[in-house]
């Protein structure tokens, strides 16, 4: 094993429908049960059958959640997948091919033959899974266990898959010394940690944040959230509605929120564009809302199944007119849980829309993470309660307050009526033609924006590393883990720079950023888009020039090696 390498990187590649993602999912689950960490990301085409998809899994003794390009094991389920992914194989790596391959690194067996012996060529991916498990050092009963659970309802297929596991383990025995790839186990991981996808973490975060109403229209890569919450609806008491279109979804969200439900939607760029009028409505009526914007490359339909961080300024400027808003972006799977849970509290506390910016990479990634900590999460509702309302001689939905926040009452909770209007309105919520009232309401929304700007919504961002006289590299969203890992590699090599990651993208802590920028020797921003969404925003808000923009704009995530090289050659030179 390469001494610098603390993990086994397995790439399952094949046609859509061949079980690539299932194999990756089960490898991670087996890794967890055996006391190992795992991280997987998915690369898929926009089709249901055929083509070449792959999922790359890292099995490790320490949490390693950066995106990697090279693999130690390539499990190729089709000739096309083998051809397409062959150059991802690391120098010392092995190819496990569907059919005997004339490749110097090929294993002396082929998956389809073993699968056929197990009962069906369709279980070739399970043979590949078993080979990967065996090489990682995962005990056979664990692999067998996760496979049996997954195919429990499959009848004869369940038995064939079980046979496929046995065949895979047997094939490895007669091949190479298993120690070559084995990953040491950490028993404490097995009993506590979770193997969970980004969309599941965000969905669970929504539940922790008290979501009661979800409306959405399916669109990759946001759909996972709608599916999760729909399948959990009864267990957690959530109203989930598949809307006829995105305008319906956002206007349903507004109605539900007005009625006192914690409400959210999840969509991607094109769908979000259709929602923009509703975003402005929410700003005007000051109803709380959570909008998960799971980004994919644009413009227009772009690359439906791929990843990008291209919509930061879309979220910032969506909707006509001025109104306050908050933009959060989870940095990894676990953060997806926490930020989404907090988004609901922030939304209801201030009566604003909180955007949670995810992307395809985060949505479809899976990771072994510690169980989510719920102890520190907010648990108060901020609606006026019936006894408070009873004591009020009069209720005004848009009462002028010093903070700009007017306490929200839900209709039906008292003798008072609750009036909201998309027109400019008076304190009671009735439409007004008065210039004086209109100016007062604009001021009220502005005060609220100031309040939010000065509020501590999340812990302040702290740079990793000493930034005095050193380059400062900034990032946001799903690039965090990859950049953190690239930094660790470079620090080992003697390269020194600080890393500042922003989880709250709006309001930006402009003063804090300015003072950090003054101390650093140069500034770089890493993001997956062609133009530098964050870089532009930082320049605009801090009036400081960003020296280096490290972007990737082909719909694929940045990976550790690539980022390491680019920082070394462009930032540290």
């Amino acid at each position: 094993m390469n001494p610098h390498q603390k993990n086994l990187r397995v790439r399952f590649a094949g046609a859509a429908g061949q079980g690539v993602q299932t194999a990756a999912d089960l490898l991670g689950r087996a890794a967890l049960r055996s006391g190992r960490f795992a991280y997987a990301y998915a690369d898929a085409e926009s089709r249901i059958r055929g083509g070449v998809n792959f999922s790359q899994v890292r099995v490790s003794s320490e949490p390693l959640m950066g995106v990697t390009q090279r693999c130690d094991l390539l499990v190729a389920l089709s000739a096309e997948a083998q051809a397409r992914c062959a150059d991802s194989l690391a120098e010392h790596g092995s190819l496990i091919a569907a059919r005997a391959a004339a490749h110097p690194r090929a294993a002396p067996f082929d998956l389809e033959q073993l699968a056929a012996r197990a009962g069906s060529r369709a279980v070739a991916s399970t043979v590949g899974l078993a080979v990967a498990c065996a090489l990682a050092g995962i005990e056979r009963p664990i692999c067998l266990g996760v496979v049996r659970e997954r195919f429990a309802s499959g009848g004869a297929l369940a038995e064939k898959n079980a046979q496929a596991v046995l065949a895979g383990y047997e094939a490895v025995l007669g091949w190479i010394r298993q120690e070559r790839y084995a990953v040491p186990a950490r028993p404490e991981v097995a009993s506590r940690h979770l193997w969970i996808a980004g969309h599941e973490a965000i969905s669970l975060g929504a539940v922790a944040g008290g979501v009661r109403f979800v409306a959405g229209y399916p669109m990759s890569p946001a759909t996972g959230i709608l599916s999760d919450l729909s399948s959990w609806a009864r267990d957690f008491g959530i109203l989930v509605e598949q809307a006829e279109d995105e305008p319906a979804a956002i206007n349903m969200l507004a109605g539900a929120s007005y009625a006192g439900a914690r409400a959210m939607t999840a969509t991607s760029g094109g769908g979000f564009c259709l929602m923009c009028e509703g975003v402005s409505l929410l700003g005007m009526i000051e109803c709380p809302a959570v909008v998960v914007l799971a980004q994919r490359p644009g413009p227009s339909t772009g690359q439906p199944t791929r990843t990008a961080q291209g919509d930061l300024r879309l979220a910032l400027h969506a909707g006509h007119g001025f109104f306050p808003r908050v933009i959060l972006a989870p940095r990894d799977v676990a953060d997806g849980f926490e930020l989404t849970a907090r988004a609901f509290d922030i939304a209801e506390r201030y009566g604003v829309t909180v955007f949670v910016l995810s992307d395809q990479l985060l949505q479809d990634s899976r990771a072994v993470v510690p169980p989510f900590d719920t102890a520190g999460l907010p648990r108060a509702r901020h609606l006026l309660q019936p006894d408070q309302l009873k004591a009020m001689p009069r209720y005004q939905r848009y009462a002028q307050t010093a903070s700009g926040v007017s306490p929200q009452a839900a209709p039906g909770s008292s003798r008072h009526v609750v009036v909201v209007d998309s027109d400019e309105h008076d304190e009671d919520g009735h439409l007004t033609e008065s210039a004086e009232i209109a100016a007062r309401m604009a001021q009220k929304r502005l005060r609220k924006a100031e309040l939010i700007r000065n509020a501590k919504l999340l812990a302040a961002p702290e740079p990793e590393g000493d930034l005095d006289g050193r380059p400062l590299v900034l990032s946001w969203g799903s690039t965090y883990q990859t950049l953190a890992e690239a930094r660790a590699v470079l620090m080992d090599r003697g390269g020194d720079f600080a890393h500042l990651h922003l989880r709250q993208l709006w309001p930006l802590p402009a003063d804090r950023l300015k003072s950090a920028f003054e101390r650093a020797s140069s500034l770089a921003v890493v993001e997956c888009n062609p133009n530098g969404e964050l870089a532009g925003l930082l320049e605009q808000t801090t009036l400081t020039r960003i020296d280096h923009l490290l972007t990737r704009a082909d719909g694929r995530p940045m990976h550790v090696d690539e980022l390491t090289e680019r920082i070394e050659s462009e930032v540290l030179r």
Binding site: R29, L32, R33, L194, I196, L204, V207, A208, G209, G210, R212, F213, A233, R234, D235, G237, L239, V240, E241, A243, E244, D245, P247, A248, N251, M252, A254, G255, A256, Y258, A259, G260, A261, R262, A263, G278, L281, A341, P371, F372, T374, P378, R379, A380, R381, L383, A410, P411, G412, S413, H416, V417, V418, V419, V420, D421, S422, D423, H430, L431
Partner: protein, 285 residues
Amino acid sequence: MSVRPEDYASRVEIAWCPGCGNRPILEAVKAALVALDLAPQRVVICSGIGQAPKLPHYLRVNTFNGLHGRELVSACAVKMAAPDLCVLVHAGDGGAYGEGGNHLLHAIRRNVDLTLVVHDNKTYALTKGQASPTSDAVEGTRVTVLGAAAAPLNPLALAISQGCSFVARTSSALPEHLQEMIQAAVRHRGFSLLHVLQPCVVWDRVHTYAYYRERCEPIGARHDPRDARAAFALALQDGERIPVGIFYTADRPVYDPSATSGLDRPSRELPVDPDRVRDRFSRFR
């Protein structure tokens, strides 16, 4: 204590034209809600943009005055989240059949228990007289800035063809019938479409109060509203006489928020408990 008309009295000055066809609808809604003994705090009126959607401001009532054409979807969500409240929607012909046409189709499918009252004056009145989806194509009947209209939509035939739970027509020119229809629509469990023919006293000199009074004819007692074919024939009836009354009612499953969510309380009363997610952790191991 029973509900009185004064309970619905609003301080907001009415910004409709004198003699506007919306005025009798406002009076009829108020009278209907009082007659149904529904207190203002138990009622939510949703509306969008235009003249008709100003209606809830002229009542003291829970009001969601949202976006043009989107009022119906917002109303569905209000009812889902607060099933204990009575929900009405007031939209014009532009909002209900133009901008919101797609939402109407799906509201019929969804069958949430609420009432959509469409104020149809066959014109875009607040934007000064452009054609609406229900404008007559015949030349010279009305003022259109944008020239000849496309063929008019038949909302009743459309709704009946899709099995809409309750379909009725009335007119601003028939105040008593109007009130009776609003009460019937609100009482009906499921999605109710009430189409109200109303004059526009500024942009349309043809479809006056007298025009509708002369032509509207109550549907006879022999009509069975559960007979879809008969209802459809009635909706397609062309000529001098305009049938008014209940065209169609369908006994369809009504959207039940508790069925999928298990919720038995309005969402506004529900607490936040982050610890609930812990039960789910075992699924991720």
